[in-house]
């Protein structure tokens, strides 16, 4: 990376937004041994829960996603992040299913996380900041379990998610198998690869090196580490796209010039990345980014089960739908195949497709008719089997 984004004078995150949330005073015991109490889970729901409470579908969001899956985002005003998939008549049909999406533990859209307030040992009320404990994907799932039980749902018809959302789907199926009738881990993996950890570390290093980060205590003067967080987003964004997608969208085109002048030329792809970085800092918290990327890096399902991935799913009655995209190099098909083979070894009921797309990892969020047909068909089949 040779280019930093233009210096920004973002004084603070956007004005506080009220999120729908539920607080559990008893809190949550984490994998690291700490207990967070109370713990708050912010969430959104779409559609109607049926009388038998059997039509609930939980959507798990990715690293920088949130609970606003199928409605305009309260800060950016942009459409929900998965409106292509979730909504009336969509593959996850909100006319039929009761859809729940919760902001992950450690997130920054209303669930307990580094930006939320806590009372420290000295009795002072301040944001958690970097004192927020280390969390795991399984901790996120345990927080969602509190919410699902609070909503009075004994069993989820399906748990669906892509990328880090897919990791949560796998943890749901392994940790609470009796509560998961069907599971759809998409564009994901059973562990975070060394390459993915490396990319995350570049992002974290960018945040750490921003003077405005101030060891994580940036709330004290209200200046957020916008430059560091923006660079982290730019790096990550490259990993979400494919080489073909970047070539198709931008090629070597310049902004405002038809040929190189060697005078402050800006390639369109640079301009695009800067835009991605600068809009991201308006809605996301740097300490949350550090916390959640770490949780992804820690993720290793086989290690959680004595080195045997199939043991995570032994005896499972859950039906699985695994999907990957052939141009995704962040969570390549080979990773999904490892999962599928472990599920086969556990004699699980599993469907698996690799979707042809040149859009890279982001393909799971975009208009991919084959993927939508397969996911929708899987869900209809599961609903039929569940007697819906």
């Amino acid at each position: 990376m040779t280019q930093s984004p233009a210096p920004q004078t973002v004084e603070s995150a956007a004005a506080p937004v009220q999120h729908q949330a539920v607080t559990f005073p008893e809190g949550l015991a984490l994998d690291c041994g700490a207990v967070i109490a109370p713990v708050t889970v912010a969430y959104r729901t779409y559609g109607q829960l049926d009388a038998a409470r059997g039509n609930a579908v939980l959507i798990c969001h990715a690293l920088t996603g949130d609970q606003y899956v199928a409605e305009p985002h309260p800060i950016t005003g942009k459409p929900g992040w998965w409106e292509a998939v979730v909504g009336p008549g969509k593959p996850v049909d909100t006319d039929r299913f009761f859809v729940i999406c919760a902001n992950v533990l450690g997130g920054c859209m209303g669930s307990t996380g580094p930006r939320e307030m806590m009372t420290d040992a000295g009795g002072q009320t301040r944001p958690w900041g970097t004192d927020f404990p280390s969390i795991t994907i399984r901790d996120m799932v345990r927080a969602q379990k509190l919410l699902v039980s609070h909503l009075g749902i004994p069993r989820l018809l399906a748990v669906i998610g892509g990328s880090m959302g897919g990791m949560q789907v796998l943890e749901w199926a392994a940790t609470f198998p009796e509560m998961v009738f069907a599971a759809a881990p998409i564009a994901t993996a059973t562990h975070h690869s060394a390459q993915n950890i490396a990319f995350h570390e570049v992002g974290r290093a960018a945040i750490h090196s921003d003077p405005d980060w101030k060891g994580g205590r940036y709330w004290e003067d209200g200046r957020i580490p916008a430059r560091g967080l923006s660079v982290a987003r730019m790096v990550a964004h490259i990993t979400y796209l494919s080489e073909q997608a970047l070539s198709r969208k931008f090629g070597r085109r310049l902004r405002g010039a038809s040929a190189l002048t060697f005078l402050e030329d800006v390639f369109e792809v640079e301009s695009y990345l800067r835009h991605q970085g600068s809009t991201f800092v308006r809605r996301f918290d740097a300490n949350s980014y550090l916390t959640i990327t770490r949780a992804m890096d820690y993720f290793d399902m086989a290690a959680e089960h004595g080195g045997n991935l199939a043991a995570a799913f032994r005896g499972t009655g859950t039906r699985f739908f695994v999907a990957s995209f052939d141009s995704d190099w962040l969570f390549p098909t080979a990773e999904s195949r490892i999962l599928v083979r472990a599920l086969n070894a556990a004699a699980a009921n599993v469907s698996f497709v690799e979707i042809a797309s040149d859009k890279g990892h982001d393909a799971f969020l975009l208009d991919e008719p084959d993927f939508h047909a397969a996911l929708g068909g899987f869900l209809r089949g599961a609903a039929e089997r569940a007697g819906l």
């Binding site: 039906r319 739908f321 695994v322 052939d326 141009s327 599928v340 083979r341 472990a342 086969n344 070894a345 556990a346 004699a347 009921n349 599993v350 469907s351 698996f352 497709v353 690799e354 979707i355 042809a356 797309s357 040149d358 084959d370 047909a373 397969a374 929708g376 068909g377 899987f378 209809r380 089949g381 599961a382 039929e384």
Partner: protein, 216 residues
């Protein structure tokens, strides 16, 4: 645009697939656990699930077919007989079906061994290379026979391991499999009346259908 992978074999596409599958479906009792290798768009899986209450799953090498099957709510994975069977546990299925595919796999003997490891019974169908028309064409023209069943020239066929009924009986004997049932059928999937004589069936049967189990 993604370029088609030239290493992906062209699947042998059977004519009158449904009749062939009907014969196979008749061999499978209700409620069985079934794996259909090379399941195509899942016609057999659909039938076994709906009509027989089977727990039916599939493997399909062609991505478009696999996606179509999954979109119907069927438990199908994209994969192939040569590489994916090893990952299933012993005795996971009552029946493992390989319909008109064994002559197109890399290692037929190993595939058969895996089928009878993960399943109690194997059902295998294949086009019979011992059919009189094939024999006659080779004898009279001196060229690789091309018939309705063997419809591609030798340099384009995915059917790399053709065999005859007699060859298949020999393989079963060599590897210790018991032939529980066998049928020779014509191209339309109708049973042919040569069941008394394997030699006549090997001459007149266009398709062969076997049900096997491990001996002992």
């Amino acid at each position: 645009m993604p370029v088609p992978d030239p290493s992906t074999p062209i699947r042998y596409v059977a004519k009158n697939m449904r009749l062939d599958l009907r014969l196979i479906a008749e061999m499978i009792p209700p409620g069985a656990r079934v794996l259909d290798i090379g399941c195509g768009d899942g016609a057999l899986l659909e039938h076994l699930t709906r009509e027989k209450g089977a727990d039916a799953r599939g493997i399909e090498i062609d991505m478009a077919q696999a996606t179509a099957a999954v979109a119907q709510g069927l438990a199908v994975i994209h994969g192939d007989a040569d590489n994916d069977l090893a990952f299933y546990p012993d005795g996971a299925f009552d029946y493992v079906v390989l319909s008109r595919t064994i002559h197109a796999v890399e290692k037929p003997r190993e595939v058969l061994r895996q089928m009878l490891r993960i399943g109690r019974h194997a059902i295998v169908s294949f086009p019979n290379f011992g059919h009189w028309e094939v024999r006659m064409k080779l004898l009279l023209t001196g060229r690789m026979p091309m018939t309705e069943t063997w419809g591609r020239p030798w340099h384009e066929t995915p059917n790399i391991h053709p065999c005859t009924l007699l060859d298949f009986f020999d393989l079963c004997a060599m590897d210790g499999y018991t032939v529980e049932r066998w049928l020779a059928v014509d191209e339309r999937g109708l049973k042919a009346p040569w069941e008394r004589s394997i030699r006549l069936a090997n001459l007149f049967g266009e398709q062969a259908l076997f049900q096997l189990r491990r001996a002992g």
